[in-house]
């Protein structure tokens, strides 16, 4: 089903949007109704504003311009109310409710049909126009709206602009919070949205720390700018970082006005958001840093001895000891540092109860969801990567696991199905399981289906025990779009769940008892770990293969690689092993590709070493498979960063950086070979 796999993110994103939108709409409606009774309640205005803002952000991912325009207009109206420049009277409440109502209808249309209904544009335009009229008609007290002379910080820029500008100018001093990158802010991305920009300055907000202490993710910038854009538009651009900017309206250069005015600046007092870290963890990090410094000074002694002309071979033991000690300390330091990335699973788990209720309602089933182990901590990326697989499993449980209420009554079960989402820590791994008390998997059905679909040769299928049979639900091609219900996704099967977990460095298993229910266990590493890689080269490119998957490396004379049926194979330790060229698997050019149609054994080459093939023998599933590379290039312990979901390709596990800064692709042996395994084995 690999052709259907790309549909997963989009479908799931829309489903996620719908779920989130319904919640936000409901909450905002309640707040708006409360505001109608008690107009002055600032916190309610804030909540409604945030709801519209979040809705807008979510809708922006999909490109529904009609919805986006309405949400944007409503956000502007509420922003004015929040700033106290627009009264939160019934005019605003009515209009915001109308906008919310339209958004709710469109959201349901998206849930049902995947698109916003016809006619939405016209309705959207009417609502936007009403917001505009409301903002124009209400008395606005515009603080600082009068033109004045430049505050000190803008004076330089004004000189720089000289007579390039006429009329009123807006000056902005923007000091982003140090942690703003973590909040997803891109300060210059805001500046970019000012079409009338006339002058821009960028300076360190505080003196730069020494280069060795450079923290690239701490923002230490102060942005000063001058623009011809009207103040209202500048305020709109910086709306979400209002606490970090000072805006002043200036008279055109060379003119003076009687009163100075700058908006109150509150950024300085705003407390930076922080990550909560156990004091013990910091102490451990400091102790390790000290050990590392001590280890380095020992290494410094060795370097000094080498420089003074001491016999170099005599220094080898000292160098080896140093290498070992620094390596151990680096590993410990890494372990401590990744600990800072751990997050409780509650963040992901909390999103499910509402989603599950909606799914159950859609299917006319009654389900209760129990969450356990929400406090278990796992790496942030791991937690994020679990969301889609878990949503898929929960849908499956409701759709296929839990029976209709009548059938449950006949089986003597309570009418409401029970689903448990549970997390447990097991050493360095975390196990997250989804259990239902439904009908369970039917081995006979799976056997029949696997035979129909030709997933396995009949003899192998016949030899499978029950556990092996139910594991087949993870096989690509087991489920198809034709019989998967609309709720369970469109043609995406359990193979996608297994692939997602593999991507996170884990795996999944299933157990089931007919009539009693099914449990799927997802296992993933608790924290990111250093992977030990075998570096290989194909042509000019360097790739990493996880050591744990490499059974052995071998050099084999080419005449011992034979063409057998559909592919090539060789015999290693009395075993026939299929041979694939890595260049072919990745569709990249190799050093000296043999003639396309000639057998490998007599491929001519000027390179004497080409008489031997370099093979990395991988364990893929059960049987060894050999991958031919151009060269072996050593080993590397490195942190492998997964590729972003949409960039994930079969065969690739992620990227890492080598010591000298090269970015290399890390291969995923399982998916690299999966598609080809059938070709090599006869």
């Amino acid at each position: 089903m690999s052709d259907a796999a790309p549909a997963l993110p989009a479908d799931d994103l829309v489903a996620e949007f719908v779920t989130e939108a319904r919640e936000l709409i409901e909450a905002a409606a309640e707040d708006l109704l409360a505001l109608d009774g008690a107009p002055g309640e600032a916190e309610a205005v804030n909540r409604v504003f945030r709801a519209f803002h979040t809705l807008k952000g979510a809708a922006a991912l999909f490109g529904w311009p009609a919805m986006l325009a309405v949400l944007h207009a409503a956000e502007d109206g509420l922003s004015a109310a929040r700033a106290g420049t627009l009264a939160t009277g019934s005019g605003l409440v009515d209009l915001a409710l109308a906008a919310l109502d339209a958004t709710a209808r469109w959201t349901e249309a998206i849930a049902a049909a995947g698109a916003i209904p016809a006619g939405a544009e016209a309705e959207s335009a009417r609502l936007v126009e009403r917001f505009r009229a409301l903002l124009a008609s209400e008395p606005r007290i515009a603080p600082g709206g009068e033109a004045g002379p430049a505050p000190d910080w803008a004076a330089d820029l004004l000189t720089e602009v000289g007579d390039r500008a006429s009329g009123e100018l807006t000056a902005v001093h923007y000091r982003p919070r140090p942690d703003c990158f973590f909040a997803g802010d891109d300060p210059l991305g805001l500046v970019r949205r000012l079409p009338g920009l006339l002058a821009l300055r960028l300076a360190p907000a505080a003196p730069w720390p020494p280069v060795e202490e450079l923290d690239v993710f701490a923002c230490n910038l102060a942005v000063t700018l001058l623009t011809a854009d009207p103040r209202a538009e500048v305020e709109a651009v910086f709306r979400l970082v209002r606490d970090q900017v000072t805006i002043a309206t200036l008279a055109a250069p060379k003119e003076t006005a009687p009163s100075a005015e700058a908006a109150p600046r509150t950024g300085a007092e705003a407390a930076p958001r922080a990550v909560r870290v156990e004091a013990g963890r910091i102490d451990a990090l400091v102790a390790l840093a000290e050990d590392l410094a001590a280890a380095r000074s020992l290494l410094g002694d060795v370097v000094a001895r080498a420089a003074s002309g001491t016999d170099l071979t005599g220094l080898v033991p000292a160098l080896r000891a140093s290498d070992e000690r620094i390596g151990r300390l680096a590993a410990e330091l890494h372990r401590e540092a990744v600990g800072l990335r751990l997050q409780p699973l509650a963040r992901i788990f909390r999103r499910f109860p509402r989603a599950l209720r909606d799914i159950a309602r859609q299917l006319g089933k009654e389900v209760t969801l129990t969450l356990e182990g929400e406090e278990i901590e796992v790496d942030r990326d791991g937690a994020d990567g679990l969301f889609e697989p878990l949503l898929h499993l929960l849908r499956n449980a409701v759709d296929h696991g839990i029976e209709e209420p009548a059938a449950r009554a006949r089986a003597g079960k309570p009418a409401a199905g029970r689903i448990v989402l549970r997390a447990e820590g097991r050493g360095e791994r975390v196990v997250v399981s989804v259990s239902d008390d439904g009908r369970g998997l039917d081995p006979a059905f799976i056997r029949r289906r696997a035979a129909e679909r030709g997933l396995m040769p009949p003899a192998a299928l016949a030899a499978l025990d029950e556990a092996g049979l139910i594991d087949l639900i993870f096989a690509p091609g087991f489920s198809t779009a034709a019989e998967v219900g609309a709720v369970s996704g469109r043609g995406v099967g359990m193979d996608a769940v297994r692939a997602a977990l593999r991507h996170l460095g884990g795996g999944c298993t299933v157990e089931s008892r007919a009539g009693h229910g099914t449990t799927v266990h997802l296992v993933l590493p608790r924290a990111q770990s250093l992977a030990r890689l075998l570096l290989v080269e194909v042509g000019p490119e360097l790739y990493g293969l996880p050591m744990e998957a490499v059974a052995e490396v071998a050099r084999v004379p080419r005449e011992r690689i034979r063409d057998v049926g559909p592919g090539a194979a060789t015999v290693l330790r009395d075993c026939t092993v299929p041979v694939f060229r890595l260049a072919d698997l990745l569709a990249v050019p190799a050093d000296d590709a043999p003639a396309a149609d000639g057998p490998r054994s007599d491929a001519p080459s000027s390179d004497p070493s080409a008489a031997e093939a370099r093979l990395a023998v991988l364990r893929s599933g059960g049987d060894p498979v050999a991958v031919e590379v151009d060269r072996f290039a050593g080993r590397l312990d490195a942190l492998v960063r997964p590729l972003p979901g949409l960039a994930a390709l079969p065969g690739l596990a992620g990227t890492t950086l080598t010591g000298d800064g090269r970015v290399i692709l890390v291969l995923d042996p399982d998916t690299l070979i999966d598609g080809r395994a059938g070709e090599g084995t006869t």
Partner: protein, 83 residues
């Protein structure tokens, strides 16, 4: 791939350079003092990446493919800036 060391002393920024690239860029620049940055195929830079360029001031080669950066940021990132 938006960050690439071309092996000739130039680090190439290509496409959109998101916040995550800041760390890799800083690591490369610190590992190779004097290395230049070629950004003509760069179509956008996150502020964190700009901050690395501002702090470490590598020589910039080519005209940035992002018009905003070429117009407004390039003059601020010139290595000879006295500030």
């Amino acid at each position: 791939m938006s960050l690439r060391d071309d092996g000739n002393g130039l680090i190439r920024l290509e496409g959109a350079c998101p916040v995550e690239e800041a760390e890799a860029l800083a690591a490369l620049l610190l590992a190779r003092p004097g290395a230049g940055v070629e950004w003509s195929r760069c179509t956008g830079l996150h502020t964190a990446v700009v901050q690395v360029l501002l702090r470490l001031r590598p020589p910039l080669h080519g005209t940035c493919g992002d018009p905003f950066a070429a117009r407004w940021l390039a003059p601020l990132l010139a290595p000879s800036d006295p500030s």
